[in-house]
């Protein structure tokens, strides 16, 4: 039984050492090389951060190593190096706004920060891949000894990675995932989906998205290759399909938003592909129009709708597309994976819903549950709660905040959110996080965000006070709001529509009336 993801890597080194493990636009490496480089990275981390020896080393606890990522294989080599060093990795996108990076680093306090390319973060000491490799002339015998001690002390509930996601209080949350959960994920994927004999994964998702976790570890488990697709190709879809053909990519685990781009530009009118055999998508609701476009143009592939939040290790349910769908239908999120249980909890009485068609909150039981939010006990306890079903022994279930029901065919269907979390441009966003950032601007008195699902736009309703008169027009004021938000929020969180109010309407509890605002929005659009 596997207890460490490195065992998956080592199986490849034993069985197919010369197979390409990772490739990107510029370079590629075999499994044997991957292991050697990862060990060099580990040696560097150990040498520079963990002087402990003897008995102390046997109770080594994994610590966070921040990894500044790029669209390259070096990011993945660094991940494996961190794991060999007995620590867990935390992918960081240095292009995030400064304040957000600061919040994450304050929360994380990493033992070291390493980077795949020449990224910089103000005030942070970064060790670079190139320098680590140059120094690579480590003492192999000594390193192997140290690695062996670390491995001996390893247990499968040790954390493997943390991925930061939007938090409603304005502070991002680090979702901490164990080796055990990832091993379970790839074992269940392998028995559920028909992977090609040697899968070549076309990696679309950035490494700070957990969609990419499925590329990396499914590839290790199925002895495949991960091919990183350059980001710019998603703006220039002809090149994207050319690349899929050139690299013989046969397995795609993509965000819905990336598949939409191909449909949006009617890409298959100019180029075709027969390369993909297995196409899985997740992240937001897949429009049937987009799915049908792909099915018509790439008919040889099997399509799978995947569902689940980062907190349950990527996905908890799946639906293999087994029939045609009309444009006015929606896709089911399907059935739970093996070794995962989904409970629909009645929000009124905290008991599971057992009737077809009745709505409940989607809650998850099983090995897939995250260890929690890093350094945030209270926030962990809010979402990972004692199961009301197993009252006589401790057991946590994860409350997703998603509402759903079982249809007449016994398939799970997603309906809506319980709270103010949205999916926008493939990202999971807490509207509260945007509101906190807007309200932090000096001249803003109050602000509320509403998501217009039909038009896919974040609408900001705000009330401005002292200081706002420095701007001649509302338009100038809005430009300044965006400038301010740019320091805190990633671009996909910026509001798309602005509505200024002298005073925002209140409901009978004295809170800003979101419902009334959402309604006026509809009227406003009709007038326009």
């Amino acid at each position: 039984m596997y207890i460490n993801v490195l065992e998956l890597l080592e199986d490849n080194v034993r069985d197919n050492p010369d197979r390409i493990a990772l490739s990107d636009e510029n370079e590629s490496i075999t499994y044997l090389e991957l292991q050697a480089k990862a060990k060099a990275v580990a040696a560097y981390i150990i040498r520079n951060s963990q002087p402990e020896d003897g008995l102390k080393a046997t109770i080594h606890l994994p610590g966070p190593v921040a990894v500044c990522i790029d669209r390259d294989i070096r990011s993945m080599i660094l991940f494996m190096g961190v794991v060999y060093s007995g620590n867990f990795y935390v992918p960081i996108d240095v292009n995030m706004p400064k304040e957000r990076i600061e919040l994450i680093f304050r929360d994380l306090d990493p033992i070291m920060t390493i980077a795949s390319s020449d990224q910089t973060i103000e005030g942070i000491d970064i060790r670079y891949y190139a320098d680590i490799m140059e120094e690579g002339c480590y003492d192999p015998e000594e390193t192997e000894k140290k690695l062996a001690v670390i491995r001996k002390g390893h247990i499968d509930t040790n954390p493997l990675y943390a991925i930061y996601t939007s938090g409603s209080t304005g502070v991002p949350k680090g979702v901490l995932i164990s080796h055990r959960s990832v091993i379970d994920l790839v074992e269940q994927f392998a028995v559920t989906f028909p992977f090609p004999k040697i899968p070549v994964f076309g990696n679309q998702a950035p490494f700070d998205f957990d969609v990419s976790v499925k590329d990396i570890y499914n590839s290790l488990f199925n002895h495949g290759t991960v091919t990183v697709i350059p980001k710019a190709f998603f703006s220039m879809p002809l090149k994207l399909i050319e690349y899929i053909n050139d690299r013989k990519i046969n397995t795609m685990i993509w965000a819905v938003s990336a598949m939409r781009i191909v449909e949006n530009f009617k890409t298959f009118s100019k180029i075709s592909t027969e390369s993909p055999r297995l196409i899985m998508f997740s992240g937001e609701i897949m429009p049937v129009k987009v799915l049908n476009y792909w099915k018509e143009n790439v008919p040889g592939a099997i399509y799978v709708n995947l569902y689940g939040p980062t907190e349950i290790t990527c996905n908890c349910s799946y639906y293999i597309i087994d029939r045609d769908f009309d444009q006015d239908e929606s896709l089911p999120i399907g059935v739970p994976f093996r070794n995962t249980q989904i409970l629909l909890m009645d929000t009124e009485n905290s008991q599971p819903v057992t009737q077809t068609g009745k709505e409940g909150e989607i809650c998850v039981r099983g090995t897939s549950l995250a260890l929690g939010y890093y350094g945030a006990r209270d926030r962990t306890d809010e979402s990972f709660r004692q199961s009301p079903l197993s009252g006589k022994y401790p057991e946590k279930i994860y409350h997703t905040g998603d509402l759903g029901y079982y249809d007449d065919n016994g398939l799970l269907r997603f309906t809506s959110r319980k709270d103010y979390q949205i999916k926008h441009m493939g990202h999971r966003i807490e509207l509260g996080e945007i509101e906190v950032a807007v309200c932090a601007i000096d001249y803003i008195d109050a602000a509320v965000c509403v998501f217009d699902t039909d038009r896919e736009k974040i609408v900001l309703f705000y009330q401005a006070g002292v200081g706002a008169d420095a701007f001649a027009t509302d338009k100038e004021l809005e430009r300044d709001i965006v400038k301010n938000l740019g320091r805190r929020l990633q671009k996909f969180m910026w509001p798309n529509v602005y509505r200024r109010y002298e005073s925002l309407p209140l409901n009978k509890n004295g809170k800003i009336d979101r419902k009334a605002l959402a309604e006026t929005l509809k009227n406003k659009y009709e007038e326009e």
Partner: protein
């Protein structure tokens, strides 16, 4: 040209489009920006930007986009 700049500024209020020359090559515009920009151009100028027009050289600068729009308008 002004109309082009004004559309671009709506999409990305944080950028100075008069100065940027490598919007695609440097990854400044992402795929969502391109989708929005193409949609806005199609509507504003009554053109149809085709997937074959989606090349870095056509979108690296406001000027390049202007040239593309002129070409398609006259086509």
């Amino acid at each position: 040209m002004d109309e082009i700049i004004s559309i671009l500024e709506e999409v990305r209020p944080d950028l100075d489009f008069a100065a940027e020359k490598a919007l695609i090559d440097d990854g400044i515009l992402d795929s969502f920006d391109i989708i929005t920009i193409v949609g806005e151009f199609n509507d504003a100028f009554d053109i149809e930007i085709n997937v074959a027009d989606l090349l870095p050289e056509n979108f690296n600068s406001a000027e390049a986009m202007w040239e593309l729009v002129q070409k398609l308008k006259n086509a």
